[in-house]
Symmetry: none
Subunit: 131 residues, 4 copies
DNA sequence: GTGGTCTAGACCACC
DNA sequence: GTGGTCTAGACCACG
């Protein structure tokens, strides 16, 4: 699992970590039962403060994505993959609805939006390398 | 032009004002050359701090959406309507692309995304009253 | 609302704050809509680090007990009183069940436990002043 | 005496061992004078770190529950059964008092608590198989 | 070695 | 003034 941090982005660093861990779990890059890199290790790798990593891991525990195994580290919960996938799909649906609604409100027709979607999907497909 | 503020929302209040002003201009609710309510007036109307209104107006001036007219107040620039429309459409296209890309990455196919778009548009159309 | 901290207790300080805030809300000592003492203020009052207070407040926000009001402070959510009362009663029931079970396992009979409960209630009633 | 360890539980492993040893002594499963399994043996059986077993045994010696017998191992002290029983009952009484007090503080009446106790005892009796 | 907690002090955006 | 985030460095319990 590779995590990339953008310290200048809008999102807090700890939030970026949370999202990327969830994303990796949802995609199956890491699976239930696996141990995550230790707080100190990940902090060193990303050259950020261990506290920041700890905070991200802490919230993932609160959401029952990770569980602490005394003396060993943090492990991905059994139900985490399912949870992360569902959460991700929900997020996508909600954000899609909101952006479509905004499109309608600014005067675009449903057909215009659909063709916009079509063309964006095309360019994403062709530009796959950049993804 | 009616502006509505949600003090509990995610967005900063000054940002809500900026967006709604731009939105109103893009939609043609207000047109180039018109004067906006004064800082004090709008602040009173929205029962928020005048500093907050001033900050929003300031930023709109920086973006050349508004221009100060000595002794009169703030007026909508001649090029503002075009600018706001373009900015809005750009925003929508960018956000649409980003959400579609995310959808693809999380394993949805292009067809699944298209039908998702279709169904969301349907439900938006039927639930128009709430918009 | 008075919060008392025992820095040598088993519970983390931030956890003591969380519990006492929830307790105060459940009891109605503070009500929905009220603002809590600011992070810095409470930290000063308890002579602990502001970060520790912030962490407690942060978790209370995650649980939707508090909500942040930009520039003003943290306010008790509308649904918080109900939520806190229910949570508290659940906790009591669970802990009661666990302690009773342990009693049965260590050889006490149901009747012995009931009379134990009776006598403890008596002494709590009479010693009310110490509570 | 069978000891069962839950490595994912809230309690430290060494603490689980301590409690279960004390519990077994209190119930008479093992009696004064008997020898306990050696550190290495128990560690192997529970597949945990020998340090962890050693720590538990150490603490039991400090509390004069166990005594070291040169060349033989660790033996249950003569006074241990009495001690463990009393400690257990004290613990139960104290925790019962605390939870009852908390119940009263959160607005439940003595009668409500008593009927709560009654119903919990009922459900424990019927669900005995799970205990 | 691991995570968990706390302190101290800094900077930011917002009102 | 408010909360939100991050850094730095310390100590603890656990295995």
């Amino acid at each position: 699992m590779i995590i990339h941090i953008d310290p200048d982005g809008d999102l807090a660093i700890y939030d970026q970590i949370i999202r990327q861990v969830k994303f990796a779990i949802a995609k199956g890059v890491v699976d239930a039962g696996e141990l995550l890199p230790s707080v100190r290790e990940l902090a060193k790798e990303l050259t950020i403060n261990p506290n920041t990593v700890a905070r991200a891991y802490q919230e993932l525990q609160n959401e029952e994505i990770l569980e602490s195994v005394r003396g060993l580290g943090l492990r991905i919960c059994a139900k985490a993959p399912k949870k992360c996938q569902q959460e991700r799909q929900n997020l996508i649906r909600i954000r899609l609805a909101s952006i479509l609604q905004e499109g309608l409100q600014s005067g675009l027709t449903a057909d215009e939006l659909k063709s916009l979607v079509q063309s964006e999907l095309q360019s994403l497909k062709s530009g796959k390398a950049t993804a």
